[in-house]
Subunit: 268 residues, 2 copies
């Protein structure tokens, strides 16, 4: 079992569906399903049972249809995942509002507050849909939602003294930080379900090795950190415990960006 790949199949089909460029059939029986309903069901399954449980048979059962019926609407599983991604990305966006309006609202309190809000939105999105992190975004199929999100982020950073390359790099930086941290924190919550190994079993198995380790003279710093209680809440059940770490790191990242922005401004 390996990671899903985005953009792996009939690309033109996915793009047409996402941008609304497919024509309705006139003849034949009325379609009993729709791409939207399939995508919705698939997201529901992935949210609650994880991407591992997302099979075409499972989705068909969820919708009460035959497995192969899905292939009348979606060319394959790869394309379905593409559509799931774009649907998820679109959740935070008001469909009626233009990127300009969204960006203006975000920039009300300055670019830093705007970027902060974007990062928090992305963080929350990954908490809601942990399966996104398991889909390789290598060459993301550019759907309307991701494009819209990119335009908004660019507008937030526009006019503060960065050139186009720098703007894009900053967005990559924040995105990299958010998704990287989300992977570490979010997946921990899912691990028990996915692996069938409970948190207790997991730490119990590691414990003898850990205690022996902490007495080792080579790992004195680790021991001090462990004694301070840094790992105490790792096995804890509080899912929002990761939020503190996220916020802390986010501020450091934004500090780094701000230092660059102000330095560039002074140089002018």
């Amino acid at each position: 079992m390996s990671t899903e790949y985005s953009g792996g199949g009939d690309l033109t089909f996915s793009l047409k569906v996402m941008w609304g460029g497919r024509e309705k059939p006139t003849r034949g029986p009325r379609p009993g399903l729709s791409v939207e309903r399939i995508v919705e069901a698939a997201i529901r399954v992935a949210d609650s049972e994880g991407l591992a449980a997302l099979s075409m048979r499972r989705i068909a059962t969820e919708l009460g249809v035959g497995t192969m019926s899905l292939y009348r609407y979606v060319p394959g599983k790869n394309e379905l995942v593409d559509l799931m991604l774009d649907a998820a990305y679109g959740e935070g966006l008001e469909p009626g509002r233009t990127p300009e309006q969204e960006a203006e609202a975000l920039r009300g309190k300055g670019w830093r507050a705007g970027l902060e809000e974007i990062a928090r939105g992305s963080w929350a999105l990954h908490l809601r849909h942990p399966w996104i992190l398991q889909v390789s975004q290598a060459r993301p199929v550019l759907g309307p939602s991701s494009i819209k999100g990119l335009e908004i982020a660019l507008r937030v950073l526009d006019g503060i003294g960065l050139d186009e390359f720098e703007m894009m790099k900053m967005i990559t930086l924040v995105d990299g930080y958010v998704t990287g941290t989300a992977r570490i924190i979010v997946e921990a919550g899912q691990a028990a379900k996915q692996t069938g190994v409970s948190d207790e079993q997991f730490w119990q198995a590691q414990e003898p090795f850990m205690t022996r380790l902490l007495d080792d003279a080579r790992f004195t710093t680790l021991r001090r950190v462990a004694d301070a209680g840094v790992f105490a809440d790792v096995s804890g059940a509080d899912p929002s415990a990761g939020d503190d770490g996220f916020e802390f790191g986010l501020q450091r990242v934004l500090d780094g960006i701000e230092a660059y922005v102000t330095a560039g401004r002074e140089a002018r």
Copy 2:
């Protein structure tokens, strides 16, 4: 097909193998294989063909043995992935040197240079073994290599005015940035192989949608960025193109950390 999970199976077995706590059999035929050889072959396959191609049958073929023979040495695929991870993490570490020695060498030019080097090492590791990014590190099985790496990183940050929690947060921050960015950049290079869609095909399929998009008044900023050539090298073949973006972001992250460290020092 969904992401591999680390720590999914017989945990104690993986831990014993990693920490060298398994006894040799006395009776019976000599083992024709070894865990090390299997792990090595598995990494070879994953490196060259991707995690998707890593099946027990494939590994067995690689080694010229029957598929089920592998199960004499490894309880299952999950455990094998655990071992692959620890083996990969161990690559950058000199086996003979203690964490103290490694950390001292890194700290020679200050904590920032040390952290920088750790980040670059991790970046290079992910370039060498892209499959690592496809393995969920939710609850990483703590092997000697990852523990050693953590101890080294902690020592690099020790004594510069951060408390234990802050030290750990900084490490999470840098790790999150490195892996997050690596995912974005590294996987792009693998996408063509994995999906069977060439780069040309991919961008050709998206082009009509993109050009229509760029004429849209709602996406003027995106258009300006595209015209500046920011996306020009995305489809390019140069794999080291991502290095610039990585280095740029890394410096911003380190700036953010440095600002926090010096602010804390002044407060004292």
